[in-house]
């Protein structure tokens, strides 16, 4: 009875933290984000669904459920805008649960002063993104805040889907020897956004890779079923962060090969110039799949036939050695650890 009473007490003491304020790094998806998640503040809300810490929750009755907020700046960027990003992001989170996305909610927080033509453009691209992904918006909300209290527009989407009957997505099923497939070129989204950021703008025709991944994922699961053990879309924090999270969760080592990483030449060039490591740059239209070694080649060939994943590559595998660590074999044959970054990747001086 005593513990029961305690858990109902609303004034819980805050866990001891080694930071006083939330910084941008806490939202970077990297080490600081994980630190915030691990700090104990979310233990307040602990339950069996949340504690799995997947991209979405698996609910009774074969339902998958997820939510995501979109605050990208600028709201229009090469290759897309915040509207389609908000649809694709939630669709992809559901797809990563091995689910077929169906219904979405859509909430806007709009800063006063947003030209209505821009809002319309965003709505149109939302509609198109929904049609492409085969989802419908079934409920929504619109709030307007004073000028200066937001950055033109923020969007939240929540999605529900049905888990595919053949899907068995669970990081606990991953074992040494499993192969890691990356579904397409990395780092395009982050570099496209940077190319139009104030202070960093440079001329390029690099486009964001924002796209819905539910169709190739559904086809992959339909074809290979349980052979697909885990799916992740490496958004914030990039491929490196996603790989680190899985290495940590599975207590296995990860080996990747630099010469197998698919990247468009222009994006690679931009990263060289800006002093960024593409492994940490955000993506919005690719996924990582951990698959059984026996079907890896077939999976790869299958994915490469799809429009969305023509550049797919097998980038590495899980190993018994160095548990929890991601090791990259460089193109010239050297080795280094690929760590989680403490916060956002900062451009180097020289």
């Amino acid at each position: 009875m005593e513990t029961n009473k305690k858990s109902l007490h609303w004034e819980c003491p805050m866990p001891e933290l080694d930071f006083d304020v939330i910084t941008l790094g806490h939202g970077s998806g990297g080490l600081l984000t994980n630190k915030l998640l691990d700090s104990g503040v979310f233990d307040l809300l602990s339950n069996e669904y949340l504690d799995k810490r997947h991209d979405g929750a698996f609910l009774p009755g074969g339902l998958a459920f997820t939510t995501d907020s979109f605050v990208v700046s600028p709201i229009f960027f090469p290759g897309g805008n915040i509207g389609e990003l908000a649809i694709n992001g939630t669709v992809n989170d559901l797809a990563m649960c091995g689910a077929v996305p169906k219904f979405l909610s859509l909430s806007f927080i709009i800063e006063e002063g947003l030209p209505v033509t821009r809002f319309w453009d965003i709505l149109v691209s939302i509609r198109n993104a929904c049609a492409t992904a085969g989802v419908v918006v079934v409920t929504g909300d619109t709030k307007v805040v004073e000028r200066g209290k937001g950055d033109q527009i923020f969007i939240n989407t929540t999605g529900i889907g049905y888990t595919h009957p053949k899907a068995k997505i669970d990081s606990r099923r991953i074992g040494a020897g499993d192969k890691i497939i990356l579904s397409g070129n990395l780092a395009a989204h982050g570099v496209a956004i940077l190319s139009v950021r104030e202070g960093l703008a440079f001329e390029s025709d690099i486009l964001s890779d924002t796209r819905a991944l539910n169709r190739p994922v559904e086809a992959l699961i339909e074809r290979f079923g349980e052979g697909v053990k885990l799916l992740r879309d490496p958004t914030r924090g990039g491929v490196a962060t996603a790989l680190n999270e899985i290495a940590r969760d599975t207590r296995l080592g990860t080996e990747i090969r630099e010469d197998q990483l698919p990247i468009a030449e222009q994006v690679a060039g931009a990263c060289e110039i800006l002093g960024l490591d593409p492994l940490y740059v955000a993506n919005e239209g690719i996924f990582l799949a951990w698959v059984d070694a026996s079907i890896a080649d077939e999976c790869l060939a299958f994915l490469r036939q799809t429009d969305e994943c023509a550049e797919a590559a097998c980038i590495g595998e899980m190993v018994e050695e160095h548990p929890g660590k991601v090791i990259l074999q460089s193109s010239i044959g050297g080795r280094r650890v690929v760590n989680m970054l403490p916060g956002e990747q900062l451009p180097r001086i020289c």
């Binding site: 910084t23 941008l24 960093l200 160095h322 193109s331 010239i332 280094r336 916060g343 451009p347």
Partner: protein, 366 residues
């Protein structure tokens, strides 16, 4: 990528490694001066490919690492107390000052902006005539010309709200300081390719002769670095100590006359504090008297209070190559990239951060 992939050719890399192994007959300690070289050695996993007799020492050429604490505090003070728009290169933001980093100051409401070019800061000053705009001018001879040029532009535009907080340091005096240290044991140098692109190679002859050390001007790609190491080892094995230029596709003996002209016009050489190394005579640039109006140090008061380094941090000995980063008792324990005690743990060019990434592989994948 054209002009890059040629210098990352795995076959060529293997050939150089074999050649270095073939000619090395004893232990040699070689310092790569520039943080960009450190970054490349680690990123490409080159340290693990070298013969065990070759010990690379990561030099003080990481601008983020050697910027003194009091200047970081000053920058934070300008952003917080003077309400200036404080502009900086990206990797300076996470370096801890006495109390906080610029990134923390930004989170608490200070107007701190990441820029790639100081000329952008001049544009900001033009667009924000009611605000003071300060550029945190950090770096070696490489970034100094552009930072100097921003002052020239601001002067031509008649801007009274633009200034730079200079933390410009020079490579040759730092090399001498490291060589003068009794405990240091450096036998050869890879000189910083991009610094020489600006300054040329003439400054290094006297150092090579005085200290009897080979100095090879070296680039940043794997093949560059290995060729530079090979040239240095060859000199060491043959008992020569000359200045050689591996990076001749970029570095001319006279450097870049246009850039040097700007440096001459805007800056004068003065004594300077180096974080971890202390004051080195005539080792940095300050703005000349005629540009005093653009000097944030003269324009604004420095914050009160004395900046004190963590007494646990052994950055100075690391930067001189006296100890390896992992020999510091705090390494990887109290001091990590997400909770750095000293600057070399912050930047990806810093020796400690570099080893933090590399050392784990060596330990755990043996």
């Amino acid at each position: 990528m054209k002009f890059l992939s040629e210098y990352r050719d795995p076959e060529l890399v293997r050939e150089y490694i074999r050649e270095i192994g073939k000619i090395t007959t004893r232990d040699w300690a070689i310092m790569e001066v520039c943080g960009g070289q450190t970054h490349s050695l680690v990123k490409n996993g080159i340290l693990g490919l070298l013969p065990p007799q070759i010990r690379m020492i990561h030099g003080p050429g990481c601008p983020v690492c050697v910027t003194p604490l009091h200047l970081i505090d000053h920058a934070i003070h300008l952003a917080e107390k003077e309400r200036a728009i404080l502009c900086s290169f990206g990797d300076m933001l996470r370096v801890p000052g006495s109390e906080k980093s610029l990134l923390q100051a930004k989170a608490e409401g200070a107007d701190v902006r990441i820029l790639y070019s100081p000329l952008e800061a001049v544009s900001l000053a033009k667009e924000n005539p009611t605000r003071q705009v300060v550029f945190f001018a950090v770096g070696f001879e490489t970034t100094a010309p552009a930072n100097g040029l921003s002052v020239v532009h601001a002067a031509e535009l008649g801007l009274s709200n633009y200034s730079i907080l200079t933390s410009h340091v020079l490579v040759p005096p730092a090399m001498e300081a490291v060589l003068d240290d009794e405990e240091a044991s450096i036998q050869g140098f890879l000189a910083a390719g991009h610094v020489c692109t600006v300054m040329g190679t003439a400054e290094y002859g006297p150092i090579a002769a005085k200290y009897k050390v080979p100095i090879v001007v070296t680039g940043f790609e794997p093949v560059d670095l290995l060729q530079g190491i090979l040239m240095t080892v060859r000199q060491l094995e043959e008992g020569r100590y000359e200045v050689e230029n591996q990076y001749s596709r970029v570095v001319r003996p006279e450097g870049n006359p246009g850039a040097r002209k700007v440096l001459e016009r805007v800056f004068e050489v003065k004594d300077r504090d180096w974080r971890g190394l202390g004051t080195i005579p005539m080792s940095g640039y300050e703005l000349r008297e005629e540009y005093a109006a653009f000097d944030a140090k003269r324009k604004f008061e420095a914050p009160e209070g004395k900046a004190e380094e963590s007494s646990l941090c052994m950055a100075g000995q690391v930067l001189k190559g006296i100890i390896k980063p992992q020999e510091c008792p705090q390494f990887g324990k109290a001091c990590t990239p997400s909770n750095p005690l000293g600057a070399p743990m912050v930047s990806s060019e810093g020796a400690c951060a570099a080893y933090y990434h590399f050392y784990h592989v060596m330990e755990e994948t043996k």
